[in-house]
């Protein structure tokens, strides 16, 4: 059976599935459920000096995406002493997520959670909240300063969770590594607005919040692909993981572990066990002996745009399509290469630019791309 062991934040983990910081790791009960379901470690809901009042409602779910206007714990630091103590006593691996506004505040929180028994720390200094504060999460010097302040203050390992809104993830990840971090994770939820019930002209949530779930996965994968080549410390992918295949994608981009969060609210904690089983079976079926063998194997196939070489490709129908009323491929083609004539759909390969869109939209999957030298 394939080996699932891996590392993150200086910890040796039994498997690469960690539960991320969020409502699903808000207290002893939720953390215990996560651990019992097979997660190798749990990142606590983000611990802050001063919990804010709870808003109702604060979660909104639509189209596989979760909007959340509460991104940190409602428990006090004193409550976390008990919670971390209890979950550690049960043998769980606990990564305490801390959030603060200055290096000195983060260092204090870090010392506190270390004394409570946390195995490691994850600094989440860049959630899309704290309006009016100078968070400066895109400033590598600031990232370095807070990472160094925390790694100097504690003996347990420290990881840094990157924001989706940083414009320079590589510089920030390197700054965290330079500051002594033992791991980088990404991404934090993305600042977003949940939407509006237009019939009542009411916002679904009354403030800007953090978006997580499927829709942020491509955003996260972009950042993971960039940072995993830039740093030597283990990288952990976060964002939109609800199936084992999503985790495999992150591994292939260079992550060594992943964090699962919002999908727990729709699939339950039991999904953690299912993902682990399916991951193991898939690795075995594909003759991978460990997840380490997947690490970054696709990274080398991703190039900066300017380095892309262009093969002459054009779309073609693998079998004839006679659906006169299906407009998907015709709508998708902005090159007028697809038309319906003589009782079937015709694709003019000389007019096709090889964009690939028709392949994505064909409900019957009848179209493919192949080498074609225009003549």
């Amino acid at each position: 059976m394939a080996e699932l062991k891996t590392q993150y934040a200086g910890l040796e983990l039994e498997n690469p599935l960690i539960v991320s910081a969020g409502p699903w790791s808000r207290d002893t009960s939720t953390i215990s459920k996560a651990l019992e379901s097979g997660a190798s470690a749990v990142v606590t809901a983000s611990i802050v000096s001063e919990p804010s009042p709870t808003h109702c409602p604060r979660l909104f779910y639509k189209e596989y995406s979760l909007s959340n206007i509460r991104l940190y714990s409602e428990l006090t630091l004193e409550d976390w002493k008990k919670t971390i103590g209890e979950t550690r006593n049960n043998g769980g691996t606990i990564i305490a997520s801390i959030m603060g506004e200055s290096p000195s505040e983060l260092a204090y929180l870090a010392e506190s959670v270390e004394s409570f028994g946390a195995n490691a720390i994850e600094i989440g200094a860049a959630a899309p909240f704290g309006e009016g504060l100078e968070i400066k999460c895109s400033d590598p010097e600031f990232v370095f300063n807070y990472t160094e302040a925390v790694t100097t203050a504690v003996k347990i390992p420290v990881a840094v969770k990157l924001s989706a809104t940083v414009t320079n993830p590589v510089a920030c990840a390197r700054a965290a590594e330079r500051g002594g971090a033992s791991g980088i994770s990404g991404i934090d939820s993305v600042r977003a607005f949940a939407g509006i019930d237009i019939e009542t002209a009411t916002p679904y949530l009354p403030s800007l919040g953090g978006l997580s779930g499927s829709s942020v996965r491509p955003v996260s994968m972009a950042i993971i692909s960039m940072i995993s080549e830039a740093v030597g410390i283990p990288v952990c992918g976060i964002g939109g993981i609800s199936r084992f295949s999503h985790a495999v994608e992150y591994f292939m981009l260079g992550a060594q572990s992943v964090q699962i969060g919002s999908s727990i609210l729709t699939n339950g904690y039991s999904n953690i066990g299912i993902i682990l089983e399916e991951l193991t079976a898939w690795l075995d079926n594909h003759n991978y002996r460990s997840i380490q063998e997947l690490k970054g194997i696709v990274s080398k196939r991703i190039s900066p745009f300017q380095d892309l070489r262009s093969d002459p490709l054009a779309a073609e129908f693998k079998t004839d399509c006679h659906k006169s009323d299906c407009m998907h491929c015709r709508n998708a083609c902005t090159y007028d290469a697809i038309s319906f004539t003589e009782g079937k759909i015709n694709l003019n390969r000389n007019m096709c630019s090889g964009c690939g869109m028709c392949i994505n939209v064909c409900p019957e999957k009848l179209i493919s791309m192949s080498w074609y030298q225009k003549g």
């Binding site: 001063e50 630091l77 200055s102 290096p103 505040e105 204090y108 504060l133």
Partner: protein, 337 residues
């Protein structure tokens, strides 16, 4: 009220056991603990905490010295401190220094000499370095709340007030205002000096000249704000934008301008300081510099109890930011972020 011996007699346990139940309940079996507690309840016995404190050299109380107990933002600090103290089973003595150096020293003298408390939190203290050194020699744990650490090995949680007014003045400048005024608090408190210095720094960075008539000092209150506004209105012209060092004064200025049919922010933009709760209930809603008063209280109390409990940390200095709460009075339109 019965004493501990009577409780011992009634329960059949020794005085030592009763004492252990009171002071170290975990060292006693749950059964014994429950029996003793029940008898204590039945006899309406409560331990004499003062006597207990004398024996343990602990008072189970801490002191908080506030510059002004009527100041709404200071009361939020007190609230944060009390929350933590309550959880730890401590009382909080509240002392008022009236922003007066002598009075602060008097308070400290009574607290320290009388060994009345296990620790002291000084909010925006006016103590000199020498005075802090001599306080340190008394071995009473202290935390400086609000201001930077002046001497080594002191716990402090501080707020960069200068940065707050610097950001507010920069915000005015970014909105296109070039004639800026400042209403400052008449006091010797460092926070008021800092608030003004941040304002001046922003002005200087943009080579904007200061009209002395637009710089007015008055007391930190509604009355002070009213007087300052009247003084401003007596001048030949008004500044385009006005920073007021505390919200009560800023609200008084708003009212005064309203009475004189001067529109805010169209004719004069205003930013206050402190984010008191009512600042968003007025029209136009007051843009204000918030400082995390409650959080300052929580963290100060945590540092103090870390010290009292000898958790062995080195002394800490924690920095907290101010935040600019942009609402309507600064002329930023409907932008809330």
């Amino acid at each position: 009220m019965p004493n501990i011996r009577e409780v011992a007699k009634a329960s059949g346990y020794s005085v030592a056991t009763i004492s252990r139940v009171i002071n170290h309940p975990n060292s006693v079996s749950p059964d014994t603990r429950e029996k003793v507690f029940k008898i204590m309840r039945d006899m309406e016995y409560t331990p004499n905490t003062h006597a207990r404190g004398l024996a343990l050299d602990k008072s189970n109380s801490i002191a908080l010295i506030l510059p002004d107990v009527l100041d709404m933002s200071y009361i939020k600090i007190a609230r944060g401190i009390e929350e933590i103290a309550h959880q730890k089973g401590y009382f909080v003595f509240l002392c008022n220094s009236e922003n007066n150096h002598e009075r602060e020293l008097e308070n400290l003298d009574m607290l320290v000499k009388g060994r009345r408390v296990d620790g002291i939190i000084l909010v925006n203290s006016l103590l000199s370095d020498d005075e802090l050194y001599s306080l340190q020699k008394e071995k009473v744990p202290i935390v400086l709340a609000g201001r930077k650490r002046q001497i080594e090995n002191t716990n402090a949680v501080y707020i960069d007030y200068a940065r707050g007014s610097y950001n507010a003045a920069k915000h005015f400048i970014s909105l296109g205002y070039r004639s800026l005024g400042f209403i400052s608090n008449k006091s010797t408190a460092f926070e008021d000096e800092e608030k003004f210095s941040g304002f001046v720094q922003a002005i200087n960075e943009h080579s904007i000249s200061i009209n002395e008539n637009f710089i007015i000092e008055d007391e930190k209150s509604i009355r002070g704000g009213t007087r300052a506004a009247k003084k401003l209105l007596m001048g030949k012209s008004l500044p385009e934008a006005l920073l007021v060092s505390c919200d009560p004064a800023a609200l008084a200025v708003l009212k005064c301008l309203n009475e004189n049919e001067i529109k805010v922010p169209e004719q004069i933009a205003i930013i206050g300081f402190d984010n008191v709760d009512i600042s968003e209930l007025v029209s136009p809603r007051l843009t204000t510099i918030a400082f995390p008063a409650h959080k300052l209280g929580l963290l100060s109390a945590r540092l103090l109890f870390d010290d009292i409990d000898n958790r062995g940390y080195e002394s800490q200095e924690i920095f907290l930011q101010t935040a600019l709460n942009i609402r309507e009075s600064c002329g930023h339109g409907r932008t809330k972020y």
